[in-house]
């Protein structure tokens, strides 16, 4: 891939990132930050590539730590995001005792 093909991709991806994310409810800021944080764990692929041509002990160590770090970023990031979003999908079941939590009943 030529340098300028890569720069083209970079510029277009930057605009996609700007467009795709605008107008996010405040509620979702933390989960969304966590999700994009997990996505930059993609750099783990770089760890897989460089460990492939590592050929001395120091490079083995650097490469392995890079893979471990990247994996923590990916696995932890997606799991934590899922836990956060799970809090929202949990339906607030109205308990039989308190019947006042309907939409229209408690408007001031």
């Amino acid at each position: 891939m030529t340098l300028f093909t890569e720069i083209t991709i970079l510029v277009l991806a930057a605009f996609v990132g700007f467009e795709v994310i605008s107008k996010v409810p405040t509620t979702l800021h933390t989960p969304l930050m966590s999700q994009t944080n997990a996505i930059h764990g993609i750099v783990m692929l770089g760890g897989l590539i460089v460990v492939g041509y590592a050929n001395d002990p120091l490079e083995y160590v650097i490469g392995t730590i890079a893979i471990a770090f990247g994996t923590i970023n990916i696995v932890g990031g997606f799991l934590v995001t899922d836990r956060m979003l799970g809090m929202f999908s949990k339906k607030p079941k109205p308990k039989p005792s308190s019947s006042s939590s309907g939409d229209g009943t408690d408007k001031g």
């Binding site: 890569e6 990132g17 933390t30 993609i42």
Partner: protein
């Protein structure tokens, strides 16, 4: 062992070949769809899954590339990373999410810096000239990755209270930072000019200088600004991953890293706007630095009204409208369930209860919504700041639970205050205010809160959870 394992012959996909590129396109399309779905409440959880599937596709594709070897090391790294990631994510409390994100962001940046180091060593060992189109992105990745790693770790340590959240800086900090940055740039230029025989020692010096810079930039920033810093570092880590993609000629890294860089920039600006601070202000001004500079020395002598749970219960039970203003203190005390109990008791008596959520309540935008959702608070009762402020003068009682800076009227009234201009929930406009707090001590921004000394404010000094439980019991007995 690794040497033996690397002998296993295999070659499935050519790096940069059609098949690998096609799979990468699938992967980053899933990232884009995942982020898009992450912006709507109903599709967010699914969006996260979609992005995770994209990541699995990207990882498997890379594992199948020709030239991938040292399988023992790969298995080791994946195993350790997965174990730590899974255990940490299951154990972490909802209240600790912000520092968890900081930590995950940090290891991502660390991975980028290490990959850049490995890439430089590889280039040197090959002999000959390293092309600038590889070398420059590698240097960028090294510098930004190292700053991000150390900066995120400091952010984590501040949020976890391992180090003081107060701004910490030495005199001439900005000059030192400037000199470090100039030194880093000079060293990068030196390596780029001598790309026929770059010095690895100099490269390591760059990593160390960037590490120092990461520490020095984040240490002087007060805890209240930390969400903006984490978000900014998140964007930086994305950009450094994209740079690593340039160095390694990997399109998946370029697209995914750039996506995170641009989306992270937007999130950062939105957070800064919510606090009425510019990003430059956050980075270079700190929060006033000296807490003593603001309201004068001996603030502890100022008169205030202190009440007990029973009085608070009476005030609340005979009100028509009550607004609860939760803050980080509520989260720390795990008081979300107890406060829900108070709200339930009040509603039984016909009191209208709502929750006023400041955009940065908790330690990150949206953090408080997560915590209250955990306690089954109905979504309709959560009101945003702009929405609830006009109703404050008609509110009988505002209950501030563990929130501090976001209710400080100094933000509106005192142009010299370090938080001047920050949007606040205007509880001082309510008929009466009850503040549940352990003491009069300043909040995250390290400044005194004038609200506590207003004539219509009553202080209830207790742990948020215990106070809420006591009030709920008292209301029931009325």
């Amino acid at each position: 062992m690794a040497g033996v394992l690397s002998q296993i012959p295999y070659s499935v996909l050519k790096p940069g070949g059609d098949a690998a590129t096609a799979l990468y396109i699938v992967a980053f399309s899933l990232f884009i769809i995942g982020i898009k779905r992450g912006t709507h409440p109903t599709t967010a959880k699914q969006g996260n899954m979609v992005a995770a599937v994209g990541m699995v596709v990207a990882v498997i594709t890379t594992l199948l590339l020709d030239g991938i070897g040292n399988w023992g090391l790969i298995a080791l790294g994946l195993g350790i990373g997965t174990a730590i990631g899974v255990i940490a994510s299951i154990r972490v409390q909802m209240t600790e999410m912000p520092q968890m994100v900081a930590l995950y962001n940090g290891v991502g940046g660390g991975a980028v810096a290490l990959i850049a180091w490995s890439e430089i060593r590889h280039g040197i060992s090959l002999g000959g000239t390293i092309p600038l189109e590889t070398l420059i992105p590698t240097l960028f990745a090294a510098v930004v990755g190292s700053i991000s790693f150390w900066g995120s770790n400091i952010a984590f340590a501040k949020l976890q209270d391992l180090i003081p959240t107060r701004p910490m800086a030495v005199p001439g900090q900005q000059v030192i930072n400037g000199l470090l940055l100039i030194g880093i740039l000079a060293a990068c230029v030196d390596i780029a000019v001598n790309n026929g025989d770059p010095s690895q020692g100099l490269f390591i010096a760059i990593l160390i200088a960037a590490a120092l810079l990461g520490n020095f930039v984040v240490l002087p920033i007060g805890g209240a600004d930390m969400p903006v810093v984490i978000s900014l570092l998140n964007a930086f880590t994305g950009l450094s991953a994209a740079a690593a993609g340039f160095a390694l000629d990997n399109v998946a890294l370029i697209v995914a890293g750039t996506l995170v860089g641009s989306s992270g920039t937007i999130l950062t600006m939105e957070m800064a706007t919510a606090m009425n601070r510019s990003v430059a202000n956050v980075l270079f001004a700190g929060f006033g630095g000296a807490p003593s500079g603001g309201g004068g020395g001996s603030t502890e002598e100022r008169p205030h009204v202190s009440i007990g749970a029973q009085d608070a219960a009476i005030k609340l039970a005979y009100a028509d409208t009550v607004v609860i203003v939760p803050g980080y203190g509520l989260a720390v005390a795990q008081a979300q369930h107890a406060i829900k109990e108070v709200a339930d008791q009040l509603e039984k008596r016909g009191v209208t209860v709502s929750y006023a959520i400041h955009p940065v309540a908790g330690r990150m935008p949206g953090h408080m919504n997560v915590l209250l959702a955990e306690a089954d608070v109905p979504y309709e009762q959560l009101r945003e700041m702009e929405d609830i402020n006009p109703e404050m003068p008609r509110t009988d009682v505002a209950v501030v639970v563990g929130a501090n800076d976001v209710t400080n009227p100094a933000a509106k009234n005192d142009p010299d205050s370090p938080i001047a201009g920050m949007p606040i929930i205007e509880v001082d406009q309510a008929q009466q205010v009850i503040v549940i707090k352990r003491s009069l001590s300043p909040g995250f921004a390290g400044i005194d809160n004038d609200l506590f000394y207003e004539p219509n404010t009553s202080m209830l000094f207790d742990d948020a959870k215990k106070a809420a439980a006591d009030i709920a019991a008292e209301i029931e007995n009325l």
